[in-house]
Symmetry: C2
Subunit: 552 residues, 2 copies
């Protein structure tokens, strides 16, 4: 990928890609090129110490659209009872000119022992580590950049207490980004920053789940999500999946035939947790049609959907196989946007989706920063909750993200980065699939090429195992798991991800292609293949010596 | 304060202060000078990607001491039911040499678009902003500093997922610091990093409070703590306070005479939340004797204590008044340590205290980093909880703190900084007290000089108000509040901090001296005095024009 060189104007970076999504083409939808005009029509940006902020300040007016459905009947007693803080409410007086505040306990920035921070970022479109070393740009973050008219964000603000919505600076960016990508269809949508989707999910569960409630998810689900809900007394109901993930027919059947008498006298579930894109652990991606069907079932049974989308921008190029040429990369932002399966958020006309985005997989997990998008009611309760737990995303992370996304890349450069990530993850995925095709015994191992995410989900036909009928499925899974470790490969057991716990009558292993270098992934898969051959008493493969590193 | 210049040896800064707390003086207690020896006896430091860590790796062995009491009977169903993650448990195989992990979904650091971060810190003992500009040191944080043998911490680790305990690098520092300052008395104590005490408190409440439980605190308490507990269904019981804070006699009386029949049939409370030092909002500091008495009452009634200590190191010099010379600053670390009122943690022989420390007031709130210290059982449940909500403190914050505390200042330099903060806050406190003495009408306003923290607590004798007997106490408080705003000063209403809610038969205002510059604080207090005179129909003061800024 070598798009034309980026140009930088007035501190705001523009991509070398053609952005064809101009207002002239889709006049009612915010495009990247529409952002400066939208900003110029907005009231002056206010981003000082603990400045009040909300998405309404930064999004396009869609006054003609309907408002979101209210969820009062679903919100827990805990969440309903949260009151705005008296101290924070007094913040409204701070806008009085000349007022001396002896009220809030914000320490003086005079005592923050950090004079400045310099960060070196890749410049658009020179994103690789090697190019960054040669061509990267260094951005300085000072303590008084706002007072000195150098920036609209500085350490004096970022290192002090902030709002649970996130800073005005970052909330503006993610609100605009969300509008550009998803174009929400109802009027009163908004965003709030999170300290990561793990935290956002826990808060959402506490807003919506009472002890003993049943909740819906894919039959194999993100184990950390499962472990978040169980101590709250929630009981998971696994919905059947196929290669496109969650099956609408299974979802409908569970809800239509729900019998409280065999479910602790609990009514049918109303909460669906789903990872539509590159699902963890199955790697499945719901197609547009699949999402539309799921949304229709959600309307039919009045479900609230938590859409967990850390891998949304790890949607990859089509898999063409080892011997065919690669699919050509997107030639414009619009082509990239068009290549993305639309989010549930973008289909949501009722305000029944809370979407969770995360910077963890597309920038870095250690920033502990993500954001939610939902209706005003849901965002407001979420922020009330955040105020008395996480408070807000670390200012260190927020200002580094701001310097990168707003002041170095801009919206366009960020999209360029996401295209770069798409192509990089495509290479990694392809490498793993090539290795699987080369090394795994197809007699017992099968898979579907993942279209998104970080995970490859390999099914093992345990009916061919020598001990089939004698050993339990768990024992065979365990045997393969340890055989692989003995060969020198760690793969995750499928059973760890069972939404309802316990064993199924099938065996899967989850292998990630995100972490290890390509050569290591090939070695890992080769060893895994050897372990399978041993476990299933299959004829050996002529070793090329990769697995003990003697030739590489 | 002008201690001798700092020396720097081998990248580890040593303070110019004399550290007399050497092992030869207190041979059984870890001192700053004892840290290098302790480290040299420890197993090799392991701080790689998501490295497992716990305080036991970094603390002195106190094998002869008793173990902490168990709290199984107090831990909630939610907390009891938390299971360690299967995925995280598989991490144990990662120590196998040569293993290829296709297991965990940690993204490759290759795609973290931050090549390096440079941070400019004050060098010891040149802590002021002016000195930092001239003499500060710049520390570089690279992506592969561990591989390149430049540091034991780098962006490749800090920007990826980490452990909920905090990083090994920062957990070691806070464990050592905690041991140096508090010398815990029981065997199985430990620390864990938090994303700030607000979050730590919420987690602790969910570990220990069931809906409907009564919990104890000062009659006036930190409003955010109160707002954290109320939605969980907890009911606050306010314990009477005097100028030394929480009254042991009141605590004992409440518990001894507890009558379930007038308390929704609930047993007497077992949880005490207290801010022993520079309490928010009263500014009161419990003396050593007071703390010993509180601890004895806690033992008598088997209480668990949450010790919230953000202001512990904002203990100030004695107040000598406007006309007397300042008290001399500590001349050594030992003199500084001796000047600090001992923590409840340091008195805790049973393991009934969970202490919350925070970097918010002594480094910067925007880092969202603190730590807890408690018994192994409490820390383990806390970490299990953190794993499925906040996950961990932002790596950006952790590595910046590490570069500052470990690689720039060291333990000794950090103590020097804390002494600097003590002297700075003393000046700020004194400035506010001088202003109060000069501008407030003593006929109706009274106060006790605070010994610690950020807050000055001013009592208003509302029996002298012209409407006393006609208006309610709330109405008079509100009148004064708005009169002050009309004059241009925002002060916090005492009633916002009532643990049990509602109005008392007394009026207080909380004014902070931490935030505004000294001159602004003087103006703010002058205006507040004018507002009081107006509200109470007191004779005016000859204005010096400060309040409208015409002379300054």
């Amino acid at each position: 990928m070598a798009p034309p060189a980026a140009t930088e104007t007035n501190g705001y970076a523009f991509s070398g890609y053609t952005d064809t999504s101009t207002p002239s083409i889709k006049s009612d939808k915010l495009s990247i090129n529409g952002v400066p005009a939208r900003r110029s029509k907005a009231p002056p940006f206010i981003g000082g110490l603990a400045a009040h902020t909300c998405s309404d300040m930064y999004k396009s007016s869609i006054a003609g659209q309907p408002k979101a459905k209210r969820w009062d009947h679903r919100i827990t007693e805990e969440s309903q009872s949260r009151q705005p803080s008296s101290l924070k409410a007094a913040g409204k007086y701070l806008s009085i000119p000349g007022l001396v505040s002896l009220g809030g306990g914000l320490p003086s920035s005079q005592y923050f022992p950090i004079e400045h921070i310099d960060v070196k970022f890749p410049s658009v479109p020179h994103f690789s580590e090697e190019e960054t070393e040669a061509l990267g740009v260094i951005k300085r973050i000072g303590k008084q950049d706002i007072a000195n008219d150098k920036s609209i964000y500085d350490l004096h603000v970022a290192l002090n207490y902030g709002q649970a919505t996130g800073s005005a600076q970052m909330l503006r960016f993610v609100t605009e980004h969300t509008e550009i990508i998803h174009h929400p269809l109802y009027q009163d949508w908004g965003c709030a920053l999170t300290v990561g989707s793990t935290s956002a999910l826990e808060i959402a569960f506490r807003m919506l789940i009472n002890r003993g409630d049943y909740i819906l998810t894919e039959a194999y689900t993100f184990s950390s999500a499962a472990e978040t809900a169980r101590p709250l007394g929630a009981i998971w109901v696994g919905v059947d999946v196929d290669e496109e993930g969650l099956l609408p027919s299974s979802l409908d059947l569970i809800l239509s035939e729900w019998d409280p008498s065999i479910h602790n006298n609990k009514p049918k579930p109303f909460l669906l947790y789903t990872v539509p894109t590159g699902q963890n652990p199955t790697g499945a991606t719901q197609s547009r049609q699949r999402r539309e069907e799921i949304y229709r079932i959600a309307q039919k049974h009045d479900l609230f959907i938590i859409e967990d989308e850390p891998y949304f921008f790890l949607q990859m190029q089509p898999y063409t196989g080892a011997d065919a040429p690669d699919a050509p990369p997107p030639s414009s932002h619009q082509e990239f946007f068009d290549s993305l399966v639309p989010s549930l958020l973008s289909l949501d006309i009722d305000g029944r989706v809370m979407r969770m985005d995360s910077f963890s997989k597309i920038i870095a997990p250690g920033l502990r920063t993500g954001w939610i998008t939902a209706s005003e009611q849901i965002v407001e309760r979420f922020v009330r909750h955040s105020e008395v737990c996480v408070q807000n995303t670390a200012g260190t992370s927020q200002i580094i993200l701001f310097k990168l996304l707003e002041e170095t890349w801009g919206h366009a450069g960020f999209i360029d980065w996401l295209i770069y990530m798409r192509l990089e993850y495509t290479k990694r995925r392809d490498n793993m699939l090539f290795a699987c095709e080369q090394y795994l015994p197809r007699e017992v191992a099968s898979w579907v090429p993942p279209m998104a995410g970080m995970f490859h989900w390999i099914q093992i036909d345990w009916t061919k195992h020598p001990s089939f009928g004698q050993k339990s499925v768990s024992d065979v899974e365990d045997e393969i798991f340890h055989a692989a470790i003995d060969k020198g490969t760690l793969a995750s057991k499928g059973s760890w991800f069972r939404a309802e716990g316990g064993a199924a009558d099938e065996i899967f292993f989850r292998c990630t292609f995100a972490a290890a270098p390509n050569e290591q992934v090939r070695i890992g898969i080769e060893r895994f293949g050897d372990a399978l051959r041993d476990a299933f008493d299959l004829p050996g493969r002529i070793s090329n010596g990769l697995s003990n590193g003697s030739t590489h």
